[in-house]
Symmetry: C2
DNA sequence: AGCAAATACTTAAAGCTTGTAAGTAAGCGA
DNA sequence: TCGCTTACTTACAAGCTTTAAGTATTTGCT
């Protein structure tokens, strides 16, 4: 029998694709190895265990999203940058729901520190350069922006806005307007 | 052998407590029935399947949170109401991480419609009465508030703010200041 | 080319999970 | 006390994770 050519990269990518198709929760070792035409046990030569696989998908997604966000941010400033960054975030989550769900996996501190999460935080800080906020307001604003983006996308993808006729995209656009206005007028402590 | 006295209510509550202790993901039929000293099969006389159990925990959590939010909101208006509501939300999530995680379970539309989620949306709308917003800005603001609350709490509980020394509670408080300022100055379309 | 070593995968098996079906025992009403 | 309903157990099938040991394939050395 010819070998399947499993590698950590191929497995991680396939798991991510599978997550986007069938949902992150439904990605099992069995299902993944099945898609390669090998037996479940074959996975353990490449990946420690199921949790390790999930973490690797999470890190992949974070890196991909950071790449997209960086590309969106290039050459922009102010509201332009804010909107481009936010849309990159939302678009990624909508196009890759499984990968996005994977990003919610809890990472141990060292793994988190080595992840693309920090690139993300840096980029958010870069956006704020257009808004003249000094510490600790800057950190608070970074957290608020990230919260709003994540919260919106999370609620939208889990159907939280479906019961009202107003388009989710319209509210999103206005939310970005509001954030821009807020950052230009951040309240004093 | 004496009977264990299983009921849907007791099972749901026990599952919610177990979720707060060991994490919602780790709540299994086996673990739950073990805590009652009965065999797994005994559960299926009361609850359809594992998903049904998870949904029931989600609905319980939503109802509990709505009760707390309603109590917090009573007799308050304006920023006072906003802060009280937001803190009820965050406090509940921090005190009941398993229940809060359960709330992210995807519900089918009819179940969602019958859930306490609508009470939540109504309360958020009630807060906005103090800020004179008309449609569709009101809907957009409701969505933004919910997004920010959920996003913040979600990131905080999954450790997203742990890599920076700034207290999560401090950023939260300033985020509420910012939201209040924003609602008083919602940008025109 | 041919052989040994390393690598990639399979088989086998244990222990966990969800879920169904059928059997038994407990408690209630007459 | 008899019998019915209800609550639970036993037994079992099927799927998932993971380890250990075995086999086949490829690599690399001579």
């Amino acid at each position: 029998m010819a070998r399947a050519g499993l590698t950590v990269e191929r497995l991680t990518r396939a798991a991510a694709d599978l997550a986007d198709e069938i949902g992150f929760q439904n990605v099992t070792v069995s299902a993944l190895t099945r898609s390669f035409g090998v037996k479940p046990a074959a996975l353990y030569a490449h990946i420690k265990d199921a949790r390790d696989l999930r973490v690797k998908v999470a890190l992949l997604a974070m890196a991909e999203l950071a790449d997209r966000a960086a590309a969106a941010l290039a050459g922009r400033a102010g509201k332009d940058a804010l909107v481009a960054f936010a849309n990159a975030y939302r678009d990624y989550a909508r196009q890759h729901p499984g990968r996005y769900a994977a990003m919610q996996t809890e990472l141990d501190p060292e793994t988190a520190a080595a992840s693309a999460g920090s690139r993300h935080a840096e980029m958010t800080r870069a956006i704020l350069r257009g808004y003249e906020l000094s510490e600790p307001d800057q950190t608070d604003a970074v957290r608020m922006l990230h919260s709003t983006f994540h919260g919106y996308v999370s609620l939208e993808t889990t159907g939280g806005f479906r019961h009202h006729p107003r388009e989710a995209a319209a509210s999103w656009s206005r939310t970005l307007d509001a954030l821009d206005a807020l950052l230009r007028n951040w309240p004093p402590a």
